[in-house]
């Protein structure tokens, strides 16, 4: 069935932006007592005591990012039990999770639900090794689907940087401290059984996940590698082309009139996005503008902006850098938030709905402003929405920043390979060779043309400029099996991802 964006999809097709029918969540499990006998000291023997069955759903969070040891350790022991056809519901999967590939091949794991997948597991899915279809959700919808019981988690394994014997968990302490545990909160409250896996048993006075959620605490040697916990991509770009894009973006933001006292802002950790933050930082200090909050994954740059008084508060769902982990311990205006508070569509006060600006990247953006951050232009899975579609929907101005052409690939294409974020929620594309604004903002286009020197053009013009540089790319039509679905924040299906040809 064709959805509102013209893509043939199975299941519930995306119908365009619809009014949200709010639902109330039920608390689906009984709360646990504060017992101290929850602690186990051997993961292998503990997992043998779990009532594992075929087709169960096991969940994991990704706050330890590419330094996570827990998913590999747990799944190696689970596989020994001989269970098959498990679903892994992980908030993200990174290159370090390569050992899952052999579990996919031997059918221990046959379904994966995640918000972002990169590395060998992504390749295995693209190559058709996963028996069932992988579901790629937004960060917000992952929480929504868990809380509404659409994703029913049998056992949640929560990597716990610090945990008390009763099961009070925080991300703010311990040798693998990662700050926030925002993506694990829904799992903790709604999974049938919750297992904290920790390398730091200690009294926890202010838990993010309270003991009443936790059934078992397992002590292991190490839950992660601190070097892999911080992201490798959080440097401000030094590329003059990227810096120029950032400058135009800041100028455009100012020209919209929304950059004033009380403004709200989110930016990703990409080099150009961070350069935009730097521009906004300088602009706010110069003109004495004070923003209300910045949100999302928090980098050291945003911490600096908070400390310089550019923002009153930070809402942090995930710390990208150790500076953020430190800041959240000492600064009362640096708040932890759950994925649901961040972006659940049924929470009317969610943070994304309060955003004025979000700065996002794109692998591809098409003439209808649909964005792909899920697959490469060859159709191979290399990411996923994360909060891309959530923030683009919520923010008054969703701004995509990108070089127009990089390594002979144009960011503007006639049709994106995979729709991650619908064009109806994207407002502006800023490139080094011109700025395109979605035609539904005609008044703004006229205003900017009259009052600024910004190079405003139609997106078709950018497309033609790119083709003049690169030549016309050859198209290959992929008719392979559907290996993954791109699911929108309301649960509908935006697009399908097909098996790639690995013959060459």
């Amino acid at each position: 069935m064709k959805n509102a964006l013209g893509r043939d999809v199975p299941g519930h097709p995306y119908l365009g932006l619809q009014p949200i029918e709010r639902i109330e969540y039920k608390q689906i499990k009984s709360l646990k007592e504060d017992r101290k006998d929850k602690v186990h000291y051997d993961l292998e023997s503990f997992i043998k005591t779990l009532p594992l069955e075929d087709k169960m759903t096991l969940s994991f969070h990704h706050h330890l990012r590419n330094g996570d040891f827990v998913m590999n350790q747990v799944m190696a022991e689970v596989a020994k039990s001989g269970v098959k056809n498990l679903t892994i519901c992980a908030s993200s999967i990174f290159p370090t999770h390569a050992p899952l590939v052999s579990l996919i091949e031997q059918k221990t794991i046959t379904k994966i639900i995640a918000s972002y997948i990169s590395g060998p597991v992504a390749d295995a899915i693209s190559e058709g090794k996963l028996e069932d279809v992988c579901l790629l959700q937004t960060h917000g919808y992952r929480a929504t689907s868990i809380m509404s019981d659409e994703t029913s988690i049998d056992i949640a394994f929560i990597a716990a940087p610090a945990c008390s014997p009763e099961g009070n968990i925080t991300g703010s302490m311990g040798p693998s401290g990662c700050g926030v545990l925002g993506y694990a909160i829904a799992d903790a409250w709604y999974a049938k059984r919750v297992v904290a896996v920790t390398d730091f048993l200690v009294d926890v006075l202010v838990p993010e996940i309270p003991a009443c959620c936790v059934d078992d605490v397992v002590k292991v040697d190490r839950i992660g590698d601190p070097d892999g916990i911080v992201s490798g991509t959080t440097k401000i770009t030094r590329d003059p082309v990227g810096l120029r894009i950032a400058k135009s973006t800041a100028e455009l933001m100012k020209a919209t009139g929304l950059l004033k006292n009380g403004f709200t802002f989110q930016t990703g950790a990409g080099g150009i996005s961070l350069a935009v933050a730097k521009e906004i930082h300088a602009l706010c200090l110069n003109e004495n503008i004070k923003g209300k909050f910045a949100s999302g994954g928090i980098t050291s740059y945003l911490v600096k902006m908070l400390e310089d008084g550019v923002f009153e508060e930070l809402y942090d769902v995930q710390c990208f850098e150790l500076d953020a982990v430190e800041s959240i311990k000492r600064n009362p205006n640096h708040h932890k938030m759950s994925a649901a508070k961040y972006a659940d569509i049924h929470d009317p006060d969610n943070i994304v709905n309060q955003l004025d600006f979000v700065i996002l990247g794109a692998t591809e953006i098409d003439l209808d402003f649909n964005v792909n951050v899920t697959t490469g232009s060859d159709g191979r899975i290399m990411g996923g929405s994360g909060g891309h579609a959530d923030t683009a929907y919520g923010a008054k101005f969703a701004i995509i920043v990108s070089k127009l052409v990089s390594s002979r690939i144009s960011v503007v294409v006639d049709q994106v390979t995979t729709i991650t974020t619908p064009g109806g929620t994207v407002d502006v594309l800023v490139t080094d060779r011109g700025i395109a604004i979605h035609p539904r903002h005609q008044a703004l286009i006229d205003h900017l043309k009259a009052t600024t020197n910004l190079p405003i053009v139609e997106i078709q013009t950018l497309y033609q400029r790119a083709l003049a540089l690169t030549g016309i790319p050859e198209k290959t039509q992929n008719l392979g099996r559907i290996v993954a679905l791109s699911q929108y924040r309301d649960g509908t299906i935006l697009d399908v991802i097909r098996q790639i040809d690995t013959a060459e």
Partner: protein
């Protein structure tokens, strides 16, 4: 004109192409291409390479190309440099 002496040009940086030109005992032009945009632009890169060799009057060589997404004018310039270096 035959290539008698090996030469190289370019780098493996993004948006560039590394070119190596070598004598070919079979006395013909052989182009070996690796590219990050093989699917989209493989044919076009071979075409530009062949055209550049023709313009330089080369009739025999092995041309190794390792492309990191270079645009046509970069490909042309790098191949011309390699040829000039080989001939001097």
């Amino acid at each position: 004109m035959k290539i008698e002496k090996p030469a190289q040009a370019g780098t493996l940086e993004s948006n560039d192409i590394y070119v190596q030109i070598l004598p070919n005992p079979k006395e013909e032009i052989e182009i070996r291409l690796k590219s990050v945009v093989m699917l989209q632009f493989g044919k076009q890169i071979r075409q530009v390479a062949m055209q550049t060799l023709n313009e330089k009057g080369i009739t025999s060589c092995i041309l190794n190309l390792e492309d990191k997404g270079a645009l046509d004018y970069t490909i042309k310039a790098r191949i011309e440099s390699a040829v000039e270096r080989s001939l001097c």
